[in-house]
């Protein structure tokens, strides 16, 4: 009697387990069908067509800003800018108000607004401020620790992502006069890997007064108000939800601990730009509905509207002379793009 009871129980258990495994197998087989990456895109305009272009050398690394007359491009030196007019003509180098300094040059970015120029020097922990075509600048210590990302927010404040006292990174709101007024470690997950897994791009949207932090290695997007209070955990259109861990090995040296990648990084969101409440993200993932030939000969930009970070559509920037897009910036109704040795301007119908 007891044997029969136990036999029935085991049989029931085996049937239940078999049923559960069958459910997963069926789901996996269905998922292995035509759909591969698990997401689709909606294209809002035809691939962009070139309006103007200019050759550049390898020293030009990014788009620093613009004023009414000129476009400014950052170089690998804090004391040099590349300048063109809005038709990408008359390209020439100019000097910035800042002097070359090895520490400053090791990690910096420019912001140009009209004639005002600022340089964020992460390793030097400072922001340098000056005026174009004038020598001399002001230097402010932004933080006592090295920072990796910085943007200017309202009324003299800056939002930065910096190293904390452990092996993580944190966001702070700071001003040269008052110092850090808000410090938060709760925006991005902490993995004791110097913040590498959660590395990303920081933007400020003055229209909605929102800080946008877009991950490089997952689809996570962190939206904060200008007091660094998280308001939304958004995501890019793809499906890479988990934050991959790259750092696993560490070795103690005499002076410092070295963290080593244990697997290659897989970039999901490579570059981004913000303009008039819309975030543009250069994605490195192909959606299911895209034709491989179209995708491999172009770079895809996904558009998200703030304050919700809702996906509104995508467009292609075709490869230029077989070169892939490296950086881009949406400015008014144009997209300025940087390729390996070309700068290209596209009119943007959106």
């Amino acid at each position: 009697m007891k044997r029969k009871l136990l036999y029935n129980r085991w049989m029931t258990s085996i049937i239940i387990m078999g049923l559960a495994v069958t459910v997963v197998v069926v789901l996996a087989l269905v998922a292995a069908g035509p759909s591969k990456n698990g997401f689709t895109r909606k294209f809002i305009t035809a691939p962009l067509t070139v309006q103007a272009s200019i050759e550049k050398n390898e020293n030009i690394t990014g788009i620093a800003g613009s004023n009414k007359e000129y476009l400014f491009f950052g170089t690998n030196r804090p004391d040099k800018l590349f300048v063109t007019d809005h038709n990408l003509a008359n390209g020439h180098m100019i000097n910035t108000p800042f002097k070359y300094n090895k520490k400053t040059a090791s990690n910096f970015s420019f912001i140009i607004d009209s004639t005002h120029i600022e340089l964020f020097a992460g390793n030097a922990r400072t922001v340098l401020s000056g005026t174009l075509n004038r020598s001399g600048c002001d230097s402010f210590n932004l933080t006592e620790r090295i920072f990796t990302r910085a943007v200017k927010i309202d009324s003299g404040y800056y939002a930065i992502r910096r190293y904390d006292q452990t092996r993580n990174q944190q966001f702070i709101k700071t001003s040269p006069r008052k110092g850090a007024v808000i410090i938060t470690s709760s925006v991005t997950p902490q993995y004791n890997d110097a913040g590498i897994s959660t590395d990303g791009m920081l933007h400020y949207d003055p229209v909605n007064k929102i800080l946008v932090y877009i991950s490089y290695y997952s689809n996570r997007v962190y939206l904060m108000d200008n007091n660094l209070i998280p308001i939304e955990l958004g995501h890019t259109v793809d499906t890479i939800v988990s934050i991959p861990r790259f750092v696993g090995e560490e070795s103690e040296g005499e002076m410092r601990t070295t963290l080593t990648n244990v697997k290659p990084k897989r970039v999901i969101n490579a570059n981004s730009s913000i303009s008039k409440g819309i975030v543009y993200v250069l994605s490195k993932l192909q959606s299911d509905m895209e034709k491989p030939q179209e995708y491999t000969s172009s770079s895809v930009i996904d558009c998200y509207v703030l304050p919700t970070f809702k996906y509104v559509g995508s467009f292609y920037i075709p490869d230029y002379q077989d070169q892939k897009l490296r950086h881009f910036k949406v400015m008014d109704k144009n997209v300025i793009s940087i390729f390996k040795n070309m700068i290209v301007k596209y009119p943007f119908p959106g």
Partner: protein, 166 residues
């Protein structure tokens, strides 16, 4: 004591032990499923988003967002009274096998690995999660086995061989 009596060697003392083991297993399952379902419902939006981005189940995400915590809560409810405990253990067995098979499939056949777990379970990596699930699977099977023996021992008129021979 002959061979026959060894098979039915369920003394009152061992009967109590079995009952306590079942109680312990059920309590662990109630804690696990109670916590998992609550955290999914509390972080409903995140859970819905994560399920929607899971490669195997994205099409069923709207249903599963409610169904998974609902079945977990059903298991918790059935595990509490002794008379429905077996049904609760069977539902737990189904859920845990499903989760384990899903994790195994994700680890071996998915090109990326999202996480749809709630609360502190999200901190576990997928392999640890699989080991945790397999541990609970073993516990559930033990619970079903013990419940079978316990039910038999509790049947009216059943007298253990040792007691009978005493």
């Amino acid at each position: 004591m002959n061979g026959h009596s060894v098979v039915f060697f369920i003394t009152k003392r061992s009967h109590m032990k079995r009952s306590q083991y079942i109680d312990l297993i059920c309590m662990l399952l109630i804690l696990l499923f109670g916590y998992a379902s609550t955290s999914k419902l509390v972080e409903y939006d995140t859970f819905r988003l994560q399920l929607g981005q899971s490669p195997f189940i994205s099409s069923f995400a709207p249903i599963l967002t409610w169904a998974v915590p609902a079945v977990e809560l059903l298991a918790v409810t059935l595990l509490i009274p002794a008379r429905t405990r077996l049904s609760g253990l069977y539902i737990s067995l189904f859920l845990m096998t499903l989760f384990s098979a899903y994790i195994y499939a994700m680890l071996h056949y998915s090109f990326y690995i999202p996480c749809s777990c709630g609360g502190i379970l999200e901190k576990l990596d997928w392999k640890d999660h699989l080991y945790l699930n397999l541990g609970f699977l073993a516990l559930i099977l033990t619970g079903i086995y013990l419940d079978g023996a316990h039910s038999r021992a509790s049947e009216p008129g059943h007298v253990s061989q040792k007691t009978a021979s005493a």
